[in-house]
Structure formats: structure tokens, C-alpha cells
């Protein structure tokens, strides 16, 4: 099971990233646990400065922008 955390307190891109994660996981039959983290303190505890942030299996993968679908898939498969 891959642990995916989407960090963001409600910006448009944060919602988009969450949707992307669900779609990529579903299309490729990856077993994931996707959770959105909206509390500022929790978001900040990951040390990012831009939202959305993406954390896969405890590692911050990116912040402030959206990944491409293939990159996202690659990260999930890696994890």
C-alpha cells in the first residue's frame, strides 16, 4: 500500500492534484491510501512553502506545482 498525502488548504491546484492522484492510481491499479491534509500546522510540518505539496511514502516529492501524469505514476510505482 502506497501512502499518498496531498498537502493544501483548498487552492484550485490542490484539488486538481488530489483528483490526479486518484485517477492515476485507479487507471494503473495501484493500491494507494490517499489523504488530503488541510490543516496549516500539519502542512507546515512537512517543511514546504508552496501548496499544493505531494508526499509519497513520507517523502516530499514536490510543492507549488502539478506533476505530469507519467511522473506521478513513476513516483507511485517507485514507492
Amino acid at each position: 500500500m502506497i501512502e499518498v498525502r496531498v498537502l493544501g488548504s483548498g487552492c484550485a491546484r490542490c484539488k486538481e492534484l488530489e483528483k490526479m492522484c486518484f485517477n492515476v492510481a485507479a487507471e494503473n491499479n495501484i493500491d494507494v491510501d490517499i489523504q488530503k491534509i488541510t490543516d496549516l500546522k500539519d502542512i507546515m510540518s512537512y517543511g514546504i512553502m508552496q501548496t499544493p505539496g505531494l508526499v509519497i511514502n513520507g517523502k516530499v516529492k514536490l510543492s507549488g506545482k502539478l506533476p505530469t501524469a507519467p511522473t506521478l505514476l513513476h513516483w507511485m510505482q517507485e514507492g
Binding site: 488548504s9 487552492c11 491546484r13 496549516l40 500546522k41 502542512i43 507546515m44 510540518s45 512537512y46 517543511g47 514546504i48 512553502m49 508552496q50 501548496t51 508526499v55 513520507g58 517523502k59 516530499v60 516529492k61 514536490l62 507549488g64
Partner: protein
């Protein structure tokens, strides 16, 4: 590096220059074809203004956003934070304001950015210099000023924006207002999670340029067309000196009034600047118009609401008060000079 991509970008830029440098002729051709060329009626003057200004501004916007998109790949909030750590107060403010222009910034990330800076030990005043400069001196505003007024006005705007960001942040730093920051901000200790350092290739940078164009131009093109549209109508129909009484130099109260009206007007720069350019053409003074634009772009209620999460109410008022006062002073100075 992918050679094809480089050639493609170079070809696009060459084509851009070809069209841009001949834009006046193309617009004249179009107005000639409609038979409106030389007609002195209001509608003809509005039309000629519109068909020249809209493509001109949109083209400038596309090019500069592309270039800025590439430049911004060299900067990141993390790098900026690193550069600002352990800088003395005044130098820190100057650096923060300048970096505010180049660091990728979205107002939705203002709070995480604020916390990230403060947590790293960057003084409050320096952090605020960054947060004032970043939204106020944005590329859309600067391009529109360049396109509609010329490079001198664009330069004035950038430098006065920097002065306001630096001095406001410096004053806030001197006032030692840390007690007005919500306590929990200082309690956050971010765990140093492993962040993978991305390798950015030249291809990635060019792609970021395209992405910025897609992102920003798709958001603002409509505002520009509407803004220039209203501007064109005023250009054709509103008499000269119409604004002189309300926004002219002689009306001393116009500067504070413009700032007060500007704060709740959270229009983006794209819509407001074309209208302001016509206000000036119709007799508004430059200082008053400049103060109005800065208040609209740099001070906004949504931003206050976002910052309210990390700053206590008195701090929000002080912040708006100092920046607002700075904008007014700049407005008066320009009314005096010009």
C-alpha cells in the same frame, strides 16, 4: 538538450518580432479595410485604438511571461529563504524586495511562505518586504505599463514599488511587532523531511516558460480585452480633461481617495491598467493614477483575510496603514514632480 525544442522556441520568438515590429502597419491595414481610417468620429478612433492596443499588449504579455517563466526556474522560495537568512535588517529588506520580483509566488501560498520564512529565523520586517513586493511588482502590471505608457513609467512603477516594499518592511522591523504574529507560527517545528532535489534541465526551463504562458495568458486575456475595450470607448468618446477635476493635481484629496477606493477593488492588473491609462489621457495626474494602481494591485482584502491566519488584527492594520501611507507619499511626490 533537445535541439528541436530550441529551434522551435527560437522560430516562435523570431516570428513574434516580425509581427510585433509590423503591428502598426497591420492595424492600419485592418482599419483601412474597414474604411474607418482617417474618420474623426468617436467610434472610428475607439476602433483604431482597440485593434492596435489589444494585440500589442497581448503579444508583449506572451513574450515577457515566457521569459519570466524561464527566469523563475532559477529561483525558488527555498533558495530565496536561504539567501535571506542571516542578513542584516536593511540589506535583508532590499534583497527580499528584489527577490520578490523573481521568486515564483502565488497569493494562495502566502501563508506557508510566511511561516517558512519566519520559522527559518528571517525577521518579520524582511519577510513582509518580500510579501509586499511579490504581488505588487508582477510581470503583468509591468508589461501593461510598458505597453500603454512606455518604459519610463514601467521603470517608475518598479522602483517605487521596491521603495515601498523596502521601507514598509524596514519600519515594521524597527517597530518590533513580533508579538502580533499568532503564537502557533513560532511553535511549528518542521521535521526535516527528505525533499528530493530536482534536476532541472534546459528543456524543463523552456517548458516552464510555455506553462507560464498557458497559465497566465489564459487567465488574463479576457480582462485585457475588456479593460482595453473600456479604455478604447473612453478614448473615442470621453472629452479631454474630463478627469482633471477629480483626479487632477489640483485635487489634493484625490490621492488618499484613490488609495481607499483601490483597496477593496481587487481587480487584477490586467483589467485595471488599460483603464488607468485612459484616465491619465483624460487629465488624471500620474501620481494619483499610480497610487490608485498600487493600492489595487498591492493591497487587497483577500490578501488581508489570508494573512489574518498568521497575523493578529492590529498587525493587519499596521501593515495596511504603513503600505497605504507609502503609496500616498509616492502619489504626492509624483504629482509634485510632473
Amino acid at each position: 538538450m533537445n535541439r528541436n525544442k530550441l529551434w522551435f522556441a527560437a522560430t516562435l520568438i523570431a516570428f513574434w518580432f516580425l509581427v510585433y515590429l509590423n503591428l502598426e502597419k497591420l492595424a492600419a491595414l485592418l482599419s483601412g479595410a474597414t474604411g474607418l481610417s482617417g474618420v474623426k468620429e468617436g467610434y472610428a478612433r475607439s476602433f483604431e485604438f482597440f485593434i492596435f492596443e489589444v494585440p500589442k499588449v497581448l503579444m508583449l504579455l506572451t513574450l515577457i511571461v515566457f521569459v519570466m517563466g524561464i527566469i523563475r526556474t532559477f529561483f525558488s522560495p527555498e533558495k530565496t529563504r536561504g539567501l535571506l537568512e542571516k542578513k542584516s535588517l536593511f540589506l535583508g529588506n532590499v534583497l527580499a524586495a528584489v527577490l520578490g520580483i523573481f521568486t515564483p509566488f502565488c497569493s494562495c501560498s502566502a501563508v506557508p511562505l510566511f511561516i517558512g520564512f519566519v520559522e527559518a529565523g528571517i525577521p518579520l520586517g524582511v519577510t513582509l518586504s518580500f510579501l509586499i513586493a511579490a504581488p505588487m511588482i508582477n510581470e503583468v502590471a509591468v508589461i501593461l505599463l510598458f505597453g500603454l505608457f512606455g518604459w519610463q513609467t514601467a521603470l517608475i512603477y518598479v522602483s517605487t514599488g521596491l521603495v515601498i516594499a523596502i521601507t514598509s518592511g524596514y519600519i515594521i522591523g524597527k517597530l518590533k511587532l513580533e508579538r502580533f504574529v499568532e503564537e502557533w507560527v513560532y511553535e511549528i517545528k518542521s521535521v526535516k523531511t527528505e525533499t528530493e532535489e530536482e534536476k532541472i534541465t534546459f528543456d524543463n526551463r523552456i517548458e516552464s516558460g510555455y506553462a507560464a504562458v498557458k497559465d497566465i495568458v489564459s487567465k488574463v486575456w479576457l480582462y485585457i480585452i475588456i479593460g482595453v475595450g473600456i479604455g478604447s470607448l473612453a478614448h473615442g468618446y470621453v472629452p479631454e480633461d474630463f478627469m482633471a477635476g477629480i483626479m487632477g493635481k489640483s485635487a489634493w484629496w484625490s490621492v488618499p481617495l484613490s488609495v481607499l477606493i483601490g483597496i477593496p477593488l481587487y481587480s487584477n492588473a490586467a483589467g485595471i491598467i488599460p483603464i488607468v491609462s485612459v484616465l491619465i489621457e483624460k487629465g488624471a495626474s500620474l501620481g494619483t493614477a499610480l497610487a490608485f494602481m498600487m493600492a489595487v494591485i498591492g493591497l487587497s482584502l483577500p490578501e488581508a483575510v489570508i494573512l489574518k491566519k498568521v497575523l493578529k488584527l492590529p498587525m493587519i492594520f499596521i501593515f495596511f496603514g504603513i503600505v497605504g501611507a507609502g503609496i500616498m507619499i509616492i502619489g504626492y511626490i509624483f504629482n509634485l514632480i510632473y
